[in-house]
Every structure is written in C-alpha cells, then in structure tokens.
Amino acid sequence: MTHTVTSRPPTLFDNVIAETPGKALNLHACLQCGTCAGSCPSGPDMDHSPRAIFAMLDAGMDDEVLNSNTPWFCVSCYYCMVRCPQEIPITDIMYTLKRLAIKEGYYQEDKAPEFSETFCDFVEHNGRSFELGIAMRYHLRYHPLGAFKMAAGMGLHLFRKGRMDLTPSRIKNVSQLKSILNKAKELGGAA
Amino acid sequence: MSDHFEPVIVGFLCNWCSYRAADLAGTARIKYAPNLRPIRVMCSGRVDPQFVLQALRSGADGVLIAGCHPGECHYVNGNIKALRRFTLLRKTLEQWGIEQERVQLLWASASEGTVLAAAVNRMTEDLRALGPLRWGEKVLGDNGAAHLVVEEV
C-alpha cells in the first residue's frame, strides 16, 4: 500500500495506526459498512459503534473518541476483525484506543482500567495471576459492595469446589521478569 | 563516485507480459527502485545468454530476465526455453563466481505491475547487499593496471 508521507504533526488517527501492530494502515480504507458494529456482541452497550469511532477518528473528534466507553466494552471476540471487508485489525485498534485513553488521562471512572491495572500490578509482582484473587482485590478497592456480593455468591461456590486460591503462586525468577518489564516500559512509553 | 552504491540492473522484458507489467506499474504510479534499465524483447525466449554476459561485462551489477508465466507465453513456450537456458546459464555463472542474485528470472504477467515492482525492489536490495560487480574494473582490471595485476600469494 502506498502511503503518502506528510510533514503535519501526527493526529490521533495517525497515532492509532502507529501504535497498532498488523495491518492497521487499512484503517484509512474503512468503508463505513458497519460490519464490525453489526457483529459486536456488546455493541448495544457501546456509546458509539466501532464504525462510528472510526468516522470520528477521521473527523478529528479526538476527545469524544478517547472519552468513549467503546473500547472498554470490547470483549475481544475478534468477530469484527475476521469479517471486516477491508481487513482492518479492529480488535487490536480497540486495545490501542484503551492504551491511548489511559495515556491521555481519559477514561471513565469505575470502568475497566482499574480492573486491568489491578491485574497488571499483580502479575508484575508475582509473575502469575489468579483471577479470583484479583477480582476480589479490585472490588475491595473500587466496589466494596460488589466484593461482598461476589464473596457471598460465586466466590463461595468456587471456594467450596477448591477452585479459588487465596494465596497466589509466584514464579521463581521474579527479578528476571521485573528487569524485562522495566526495560520494556522504558522503551515503550505509556502506549 | 561517492561511497553510496546504487546497483544498475539490466532488465530484458518480454513485450507481452513483463514489459506491460512495467507499463502498468508506471500507470498505477507504483514507486519502485529506479535501478532497472529495461530493454524490450519480443519474448523472454529471445534472450541470448550472450546478452546477459555482455550486460555484466559492460558494467551492470545484475540482470533481470522477465517473461510471461509458464503456460501464458504469447508464443506458447518461448518462456520455457528461456527457463531452460537460464537454468544452465545459472549453473555456468556459478562456476564464474557470479552470485545467483545477480541474474534472476521472473515471471510477471501483464497485470502484475506490483509483482514486477516488488521484484525490482527486492533485487535492488539483494545487489546493494552484494556490492558492485563492475566486471571491467574489478575483475578484468580494465582501468589500466589490467594484466599487471599480481595477486599476492
């Protein structure tokens, strides 16, 4: 694909493409056909359909895009990506939008970032995750009521079935992992 | 000449497929390495191995022979003869110490402008990595010191 090089400062549209691996350049070729939004299992809960997000990116509506809950409602099912007639890596773009929203300080309160951040925090210290422990910590920190509900409901079930750990396992070489991740952070910037 | 090396590729392009592929690449404004110097022949079967040798002798860093895909030759099977000659020539050139990348055979149909452009780009990169051939100066020493060249043993 030929891509015209310009000297203007990069827009959010450009950044999204630059920060997404794969054939993100195809985003330029979006037909606005709506296959992504039509395919999306959580589409009805998004405040803009993925297609609309792409139109907004093109229109320079950066604030609205980064404020949107759309990427946070992406369930990573990849239907949009395999169906897109222009082969746009839509799911990967949703991940990029999340990262950019965090970097730019957007995103709505009590939405996914905290969950993701809790998760990452945990993995960085232990090398492994235990989703239920993480969920519990996340709820305790952000939604105490939810934590109670969870503990009393499915948490209890799982605990009984021996499927819920209260003590996480830890990998042996945590220091190696930490140096890798620190270096990666240094190289990666926030996005 | 500066240190920067731009390889020179002579291209023998068949009139019906590859020459038109290059036309199409241009018409479609596909930008590719300007290192190819195309010569039109009616068929890749017209390419006499002497042309290839002479191109190398006359300063080219590589030669690209391009014809129609097997089965699509405008003259039924001229390209098959080109392939047979190319295969034997390649084996002979190997004895001459000439790297395989320097003489390449490509099938590019009239609709494959992108294929041709990509092949030229790739070949240019190959040759850039190999460095200049400049048979006259570097091998035969045409620049004067020619026959006095005494290789230290």
Partner: protein, 677 residues
C-alpha cells in the same frame, strides 16, 4: 587498424525528441538536461524537448527535421511504445523515412511515473535515450507483411454476448462457428425472470434471438461442445472442438420431449435450475432450448449406471436414442475468435455467517431468480424452502462476496440493481410482505436505474444502510422465534439491529468462470488477478485482447449488465467484421530469417518453433524460415549456435547496441584491446 573506417552506424544522423507529456514526464525528469546531454552523442544531429510530442505540432517537428536536417534515424523519448509507437512511426514515414528507422524510449511508464526521485529519473532517462540512440543507428528499413484473413469466425459461449456477436456477423454474411458447453444456448439470461429496470420478460426478448441463431445458415451451432485446441494466429486459426456425445441422433430427433417426460430418473438441476429444481437424466434445460435435442446425462442415467432401464429408447418414436454415440472431434479454420464465456456466481457458502446451505430459508440470488420465474420450480410463487409457505418478510442482502478483501474486492456492478428488482418482484407477488434491503452503498448508474431505485423507495421497501454481519436462527427474544434474524448495524442510526424475517436472499456477486485461466491459456491471452480476461486497453480497446484476432465480450471481461454485454457482443462482432472486410492485415515485420549460405544444417532450430515455421531442406542441408508462419518471438535467433538466424528489428547487433547504450555510465573507462578492435 581501429580508426581506418567509420562503421556505417556512425554515419547516421539521429534526431532525438524528449516529450514533457505536460508535467507527467517533465515534472520528474529534467527533460532539458536530457536533451542537451543527448545532443553530445556523435550520432545525434538534433535533440529537442517538447511539451507534447504526440500532438500534431510535435509530430511535425519530426517531419520537418527529417526534411530540413536530413535526419536518417528518429528517437522519441516519451511514453510506452504500446501507447504511441504507431503514432511516431507514422510521423517518421510522413517525413520520408522508413517507419522502422525509429525507436522509442519509454521514460514515462518506466521512468517518471515509477519514481519520485528526480535525479534518478533523469539519469535513468539518459540511459534509456542513449540505449535507443545506439540501437536506432543499426535499424534497417522494413516492410510490413500482409496476412489474409479467413472470413470465418469462432465464437465461444452461447450466452447473450455470444448470440449477439454471432447474429451480427451471420446477418452480415459471414460464417460463424458458435460453440457452447451446455446442451443449449441462452446462458445466464435464460435463467433470469425479468430484466431491470424495464422489467421485460427475459425469455421473451431472448428466445427469438436464440431461434434466429438456430435458423441462420451462416451459423454452425455446436452445443454440448468444447474447444480443445487453438493453433495459428490472426487470420489463420486452426480450431479443434470436441462435440460431446449427447446420445441422441440429431438428424432423427424431433424434439418431441417424450423421452424427457418418461425418464424415471430425477436429478437436481444444479446448472440451469440453480440447484433449486429438478430435471431428468435425459433433458432439455428448458422447453425453448436451441437446439431442441435433449442431452443424456450419463452420470445420472440409470441405464449407464446400472445397465438397466432404456425407457427413453423404448418411448422414442423416431429411434433417435443412441447409447453408443461417441464424442466427435471437429476441426475447422477461422480468421478471428470471440470469447463470450460469461461468469460464475459467487458461492455464498464461503461466508458461513450468512448460513447459506445450513439455514433452509437463506436463498442465493440465482435460486430466487429461478423461483420467481414462471417456468421455475414453483411456477413463480415465492415460497419458503418447504415449497408452500409464503414469507411475510424478506431480507435482501447486498454485496455478498463483493467489495470484500476476504473474497472479491471489486463491486459486482449488477447486484444493487437486481436486488432492487427482487424487492419489486416481492412487492408484486406478495403485496403484504415486508422487504428489507441491506446495502453498503446504493449503486444505480445507468439509464433509468436511479429512477428504478426511486420507484422502490415509493413501493415501501425498507432500506437499511449497513452490511449484514450475520444471519442466524438463534433467537434471543420471543419476537425472534422461528425466524431468521438478520443482524447488522443500521449505520445511519449508529445502532445494531436484529431484523427477524422469514426469508433471506443473498445477492451474490459475479466471479470469473472457475476455468477462465485454463481458457485464457488455450487462447493465449491473459487474465487479470481477479480471473477475468484482460482487455487490450481498459478505455480504448475494451473488446480486444493482447492476442491479435482474439476478442472478448460480456462478463468474461468483468461484471456487466445485459445492455453492456450486448453492446460488447456487437462491438466484438464489428471488430471482426472490420478485419474480414479488410481481407488482409499488415503484420509487424518482426520475423526471423536464416542466412542459408552460412547455415551449417545443425538442425538445432528445427524443433524450437511453436508455429512450425522452420523447415529443413534435405537437399541443401540447410534450415529455412517460412515467413508467413513466423510470429517473430526470436527464440530460434537466440538458440542458433552459428548466429545465422536474424531476428528482424531485434537483431544481435541492435540489442547489443542498446544494451551497451543503456550502460553508458558504468562501463569501464579503458576497454581491452580486443574490444577496441
């Protein structure tokens, strides 16, 4: 020894003309610099640069310089020779020189358009110009070779394109061989019910033409036949056709249809019936078939499979059934060929999320076309797969397999219009049914087409702008039970919609025939990367191909509606008629010839010519080229170990001169003595 005589080449006076082509060339290449540089070549008398060399003033420059400056050779550096070689050869000739004393350097397609690097483009242009100058001084005057045109024509494909072309030629008094793979001519148009936007009955306008074909003495109709080989060249093709055994003696058959009626073996008619109806093992695709003789389908015939039955033989009143009949191989000569092999429909099973083949009430467009046809399986009633229930709601899905990188990137051009036609037919047949058309963009360019769209808007069709994501029978809510749910984003509202319907029609796109590539090889022409046949020029030669004497018409060249197809059939016929009335064509004199007195008779060249243009003289022990058969590829020239075969206009000296010319800047300064000598 070296400078005693000037080679004749150095005595030529060359004129060099560098074209700006507006900014197409001059925007990237420093044309002035190239011209000034070229003038330094000892053979060059004058080098000019001019804005448009192909303009009449540009051509006059050449003519005047030949006359005034006594030029003997001309070089024009401009576009591809495939574009203007002819133009400048003619200018050269008008100036008084043999047109072959001209050479072209392609500095546009191969130069200015291929790079943005001005310096590199300028230096490449110098190399190409120099190559042309060094070459042209070795050019020799040549005369074109006249070739007679056989007035007969082969037309492959008996759809509306082939029918049109055949009738045009036959009615003009020329003989045509019309070869059709199926048992009858008619093609896709015979399957269709109504044509958009006029809603004419397709059969009503097609069948009279089919009958005309059947009755025209100038048309040899070869149905149930396939072309096996094609040899020769424009004016003189030799064709071999295999006429498959239909197990019916044509001379005896009266087309009464009793065999078909009595045949006990029912077969799904995948072809004409689009898989939605049945036919017998001995069958005519439809009652108006031309010719009217049936075809016996051996693979499904009970007699051929089990050895018992022979019902058709017993009921035939004229003893026309012949189980022993064998394929016939027919050969004939023609001067020109028209390919009108049509298209395949995109197979919607490649998009599993649309459920075709899994969900019974998802239909392909051709299935619907047959269903709504009065001669179809339901006599024109629109019903669900159970054959009885009338749908109350129908979704028509546009762009199935088209405009999709995963399948075909191109727009199939006819689907929007036929989808609108379907919507109209539903309204007509089932006035109470709701119709939903799901589209990405509504494409209705054509006479009366947009008006037809407006008519459908008025008829109350629901148009939803959004490409369908999936079609499912998995209901979520009570309203969806037992329905097919069409899920798509209504992009104009920005919301995801689930539309429950009874029936879905998939408007599948047009694809190249699955065997188009084999056919293109058979006729020695090319396919584009979508598999459609390549035309010679997308604008100016839409029905010609790269192979002289081979023309294309209709959807084999790309998606097309009926009016365009008919127009192309006519255009191809007129191209052929032009050649027939010319009687001869002048062929490029690019031909091989053997210097017999120097031929050692080694016979290396004897097997190389694909046209058998080289013969061996057993008396003189030398090989000889039959000029009329030679096509000028030059393979023998390259192979001759004695170097005694000359390839006119591509001689050893000419190519070597061009080669050294394009390498002017990289040759070593000091040549070895041998080369100076």
């Amino acid at each position: 020894m070296t400078d005693q005589k000037k080679s004749p080449a150095e005595q030529e006076k060359v004129g060099v003309y560098i074209c700006h082509c507006g900014s197409n060339i001059a925007g990237t290449i420093n044309v002035e610099e190239v011209a000034q540089w070229a003038e330094k070549n000892p053979n060059v008398v004058v080098a000019r640069n001019y804005e448009f060399m192909c303009s009449s003033t540009g051509q006059e420059l050449i003519e005047n310089d030949i006359k005034e400056k006594g030029l003997t050779r001309i070089v024009v550096a401009s576009c591809s020779p495939h574009m203007h070689e002819k133009t400048f050869r003619e200018a050269t000739e008008r100036g008084g020189l043999n047109p072959f004393l001209f050479e072209m350097a392609n500095i546009r397609e191969h130069g200015s358009w291929a790079t943005n690097d001005k310096e590199a483009a300028t230096s490449k242009a110098k190399a190409l110009v120099n190559g042309a100058v060094e070459r042209v001084v070795h050019h020799a005057p040549l005369e074109k070779i006249p070739v007679d045109i056989n007035p007969n024509t082969l037309i492959v494909g008996g759809g509306i394109a082939g029918i049109t072309a055949a009738l045009e030629l036959a009615e003009g008094g020329h003989h045509v061989y019309l070869v059709e793979r199926e048992g009858t001519i008619g093609g896709r148009m015979a399957q269709i019910d109504k044509t958009f936007p006029t809603l004419d009955c397709s059969a009503c306008i097609l069948t009279p033409k089919m009958v005309d074909v059947g009755q025209n003495d100038n048309i040899t109709l070869l149905t149930y036949s396939e072309v096996e080989s094609v040899e020769g060249y424009i004016g003189n093709f030799n064709i071999t056709v295999r006429k498959k055994a239909r197990c019916v003696t044509e001379e005896l058959c009266t087309s009464c249809g009793i065999c078909e009626e009595k045949c006990p073996q029912k077969v799904i008619d995948e072809n004409y019936g689009a898989g939605i109806s049945y036919r017998k093992a001995i069958y005519r695709s439809f009652p108006q078939a031309v010719p009217g003789y049936p075809v016996l389908d051996k693979e499904n015939c009970t007699y051929f499979q089990t050895g018992k039955c022979k019902v058709c033989e017993q009921v035939c009143p004229t003893e026309a059934i012949d189980y022993e009949q064998e394929d016939k191989v027919i050969t004939f000569d023609v001067g020109n060929i028209i390919l009108a092999t049509g298209y395949d429909l995109f197979d919607a099973r490649q998009i599993p999320q649309y459920g075709y083949g899994r969900l019974a009430n998802v239909f392909s467009s051709l299935e619907f076309e047959r269903m709504v046809n009065a001669s179809g399986p339901t006599a024109g009633h629109i019903v669900l797969r159970d054959g009885v229930t009338e749908p109350e709601s129908i979704a028509i899905v546009h762009c199935v397999g088209s405009r999709d990188q995963n399948h075909n990137e191109y727009c199939s051009k006819v689907c929007c219009m036929y989808s609108l036609k379907f919507a109209h037919l539903v309204h007509e047949h089932l006035p109470d049914a709701e119709v939903y058309n799901f589209y990405i963009d509504m494409r209705t360019p054509g006479k009366g087409y947009e008006e037809f769209y407006h008519r459908l808007l008025n008829e109350g069709t629901h148009f939803i702008r959004g490409r369908v994501a999936e079609i499912t029978d998995a209901d979520r809510h009570p309203g969806e039970e037992g329905k097919l749910i069409v899920q798509a984003e209504n992009t104009l509202l920005g919301i995801q919609q689930r539309t429950p319907v009874d029936m879905v029609i998939l408007s599948a796109g047009i694809e190249a025939r699955h065997d188009a590539e084999d056919v293109s090889k058979l006729f020695k022409m090319g396919c584009d990367h979508d598999g459609f046949f390549n035309e010679r020029h997308p604008k100016l030669a839409p029905v010609s191909t790269m192979t002289d004497g081979v023309f294309i018409a209709g959807a084999c060249q790309g998606p097309k509606d009926i009016p365009d197809t008919v127009a192309q059939g006519g255009a191809a016929a007129s191209q052929v008629a032009k050649l027939i009335s010319q009687g001869t064509v002048l062929m490029e004199p690019v031909r091989a010839s053997i210097r017999e007195e120097e031929c050692s008779g080694c016979r290396i060249c004897n097997t190389l010519c694909p046209y058998n243009a080289i013969e061996f003289d057993e008396e003189k022990f030398v090989s000889r080229v039959i000029t009329a058969l030679c096509q000028g590829c030059g393979t023998c020239v390259a192979a001759c170990p004695s170097g005694v075969i000359d390839g006119a206009h591509f001689t050893y000296t000419q190519v070597m001169a061009e080669l050294k010319g394009v390498l002017w800047d990289v040759q070593s300064d000091v040549l070895t003595k041998q080369e100076v000598a």
